[in-house]
Symmetry: C2
Subunit: 338 residues, 2 copies
């Protein structure tokens, strides 16, 4: 775990001439992503980015660095009802002056209106529980496109099932929660059911964004949001809407003091962290709009990256696992310099 030597080895590998590189050690997953061609990276539309600015930390507030968190909203067909609400709430500046009210260790950071009395803007919809999952239609079309890409380069599925030395191989994944997990347009997803009943849903991995709710049949309206700061709480899948993920600044949430009340709620109002604003990136002045891109999960680079996550061959490792769970293959996302 004293990875300092590893970092040095990586830098060394990249500085070698081509001939010498052939004898250099296998790349780490991060090095594979960094070496991916520009064509394997997909720019995230500014209209899918939410920018949350927290009040600066500490007493010397003017000198404190900004606490900016950038969130990517999920693409269709997933959770679009809630995401529509979130766009309306952001456009109405509804969260300005709201706060982070709950930080539960190994679980979630949650924010919203602590008074629970602030009126919602017009047009916020009630989303049905059926929308926790998604049926065929758009998925099917995109899936076919992805499979065609994979087949064209004769690579198989992402190595989410254990291959060797398991003497009992099976076609389905070794996922504890469902029949199959995979990646779709940059997102980890799960599926269950057969034929026309088959459905897909986004999964709760570290950093994912979800919609708080009360007891069923309430599904939440998107005003109360949380992000995962611990081991993937996948028992929440299909029970709560997953609407996005934090792609920058999660340390401003994960390192907050844990709440000492039940479920990690802050017990005193002054413990809450004020939210200065939450905006869609498209509502920010152009120069301050963040730009990000993700490594296409349909690309050959991602297949290599996922394989390396499941089979670490870089110098630090002596026993590759032979598999990885879907939440231990985080999709690479990076800021684009302007």
């Amino acid at each position: 775990m004293k990875h300092r030597l590893l970092a040095a080895a990586a830098a060394f590998a990249f500085s070698l001439p081509v001939a010498a590189q052939e004898a250099s050690p296998p790349l780490s997953p991060g090095e594979i992503a960094a070496a991916a061609p520009a064509s394997d990276w997909v720019e995230i539309p500014a209209s899918d980015l939410l920018v949350m600015d927290l009040a600066p930390a500490g007493k010397a507030k003017k000198k404190a660095p900004p606490r900016r968190v950038v969130i990517q909203l999920m693409p269709a067909p997933f959770s679009q009802g809630w995401i529509g609400n979130i766009r309306k709430l952001a456009a109405a500046h509804w969260w300005d002056g709201a706060s982070i009210n709950r930080v539960q260790d190994n679980y979630v950071v949650q924010w919203g209106d602590a008074t629970e009395k602030k009126p919602l803007p017009g047009g916020v919809a009630v989303v049905p529980e059926a929308d926790y999952t998604s049926g065929l239609s758009e998925w099917q079309a995109r899936n076919a496109e992805r499979d065609a890409k994979r087949q064209s380069r004769q690579t198989s599925e992402i190595p989410l099932q254990r291959v060797e030395p398991d003497p009992y191989p099976d076609w389905h994944s070794r996922d504890a929660y469902t029949q199959w997990v995979d990646f779709y347009s940059g997102w980890p997803v799960a599926t269950s059911g057969y034929g026309l009943d088959q459905v897909w849903w986004p999964v709760h991995c570290y950093g994912m964004l979800g919609v708080g709710r009360n007891l069923s049949p309430d599904t939440g309206n998107g005003a109360e949001l949380y992000t995962v700061i611990g081991h993937a709480p996948r028992h929440l899948d299909r029970n709560i809407a997953v609407v996005g993920r934090v792609i920058a600044g999660i340390e401003h949430l994960s390192s907050l003091p844990r709440g000492t009340g039940a479920l990690g709620f802050y017990e005193k109002a002054e413990e809450r962290v004020p939210i200065k604003s939450i905006r869609l990136a498209t509502d920010l002045p152009a120069p301050s709009q963040p730009k990000f891109e993700y490594l296409s999960t349909e690309s050959e680079s991602f297949t290599k990256y996922a394989d390396a996550r499941a089979n670490r061959r870089d110098p630090f490792f002596i026993t590759p696992a032979g598999g990885a769970d879907v939440c231990n293959i985080p999709v690479p996302v990076r800021a684009v310099s302007k």
Copy 2:
């Protein structure tokens, strides 16, 4: 995720008379653990507890609350070579004045001697890589005892594999990393191989304690330690020694500011968090020795608890997953009031 209603429902269930309780909603995993009989809890020997006291936080140091972290060391047959070293280092007060030097988001908090020059006490052993796993012998005996207990009450295995509605059941678990995972004397473990070649090893879940090392064949001596503060990094299993877990005070580690250097190392000496002392509980004055117990993983209560983690039936949930990964079934541990 607005669980406040849930908490109220739980309190209500416990306050009802017996007849009314039969109509009350199914218990949550936490409620099942809380309702377990005293005989299902196992006291952790004081000789297996490490107590780490960090310097108080903030500038008003005298008024600041203590930052105490309690660690449970693993039982035989796992990692005993490194644990022997850790006992020697604690007895020699070797970590007094050491520091937390690395905090990497969604990964680890790591501590030790930042100078990397402090001499070790006598008797610190070099542990072979073979000891990342454990063979039959003691395990076999204890396993037989556990299986007998489970059979005596006709309960089957812990529900780590998906049962329904999976049409492709198989005897092995749906673990992405190995053939089978289970619990042993209060700890999550994994296994691989057959017959005399079968081995077991402890797994990297949230809060687990590991031994930092340099490149192989170095295995680390136990002086450099880390704990997991993110999604289970199980690619480290069998590559690094797991020697214990944090059972209290992990928030003092997980909420530390993330390091801004490579791999989350703090870049400035003043960012490091000073360690006041690390002691075996048996070396503390009796009144200040912490006491903890864990829910026996061989007990009927634990089987019910694990089943409830895999199949949430308490009121908040609408779709039970049907399974859970081994790191999403944390073994209940609680402080014993004196």
